[in-house]
Symmetry: C2
Subunit: 174 residues, 2 copies
Amino acid sequence: MKFNLKKSIAVLSNTPKTLHTLLNSLSDDWLLTNEGENTWSPYDIIGHLIHGEKTDWIVRTKIILSDDESKIFESFDRFAQEQENNGKTVQELLAEFTQLRKQNLEILAQLQITENDFLKTGIHPELGEINLKQLLATWTVHDLGHIAQIARVMAKQYATEVGPWNAYLGILKS
Amino acid sequence: MKFNLKKSIAVLSNTPKTLHTLLNSLSDDWLLTNEGENTWSPYDIIGHLIHGEKTDWIVRTKIILSDDESKIFESFDRFAQEQENNGKTVQELLAEFTQLRKQNLEILAQLQITENDFLKTGIHPELGEINLKQLLATWTVHDLGHIAQIARVMAKQYATEVGPWNAYLGILKS
């Protein structure tokens, strides 16, 4: 599948409500448990998505489209949410993510990106030159990756409870 | 996390709406493309979930709780959806799954399962003796596994479009 802006926005638009419904009315043992040391719970993952909305996707899109001489992105802090979310509930985080995503998709629409913009570039601090199309495709895949991660982290809470079925459930081994 | 009926039902109740929101307003290239030969598209996966609602979880629960002498489960057909869904749209499949899941959770409530029932057993044709708690935990994990699978299958449609970010996106390698 070739990158398509409208089809990417369709996925990006769905994510807040998907997270709301996936986590709707769940107890803390689903929401706050991770996969083991140095891994994330669904709660942590939503915090990470919030940080991306604040500092990554739209910020980098604007850098690529700007007339600035330097197009170097700031490094993304994968652990910022550990400080930022202190004391907030999952519902508060979901509401914050929903609001930020809505704003960012409005900004994206205002930028009136055309196919001519897709190959404009910025400099990633580690990956080097990347273009706008790659950034927006990554935003989309990043959402899907974290939806899959939340489902996997939850599934693993029942890894022993499924008994012999463990052998059939690939999600428990991924 | 120990098996808990109420907490399992919370997850099982969310799945239809989660699938609706995850796939809301998406084009066919997100919905109908798979990961390669002998793999499933989101469309196929919903068909598989429907077949489970019809032939697996509640049917087996009733066998376990019955007074029948034979407690042997029928084998589950992992490819039944290939015939059954012929010509149906994704929206029709989602509506069918939503309706079946609702009915099955109503039946589950009517069965008034208690902790004393959790260790009652049936015979899986390949796995041998399993108990009700394991069956219901598996139903829950099975949902989460297929939600993760749908997100992964979609993510892979952009595997080349993300460019150098491919290296950072674990979902594309899973």
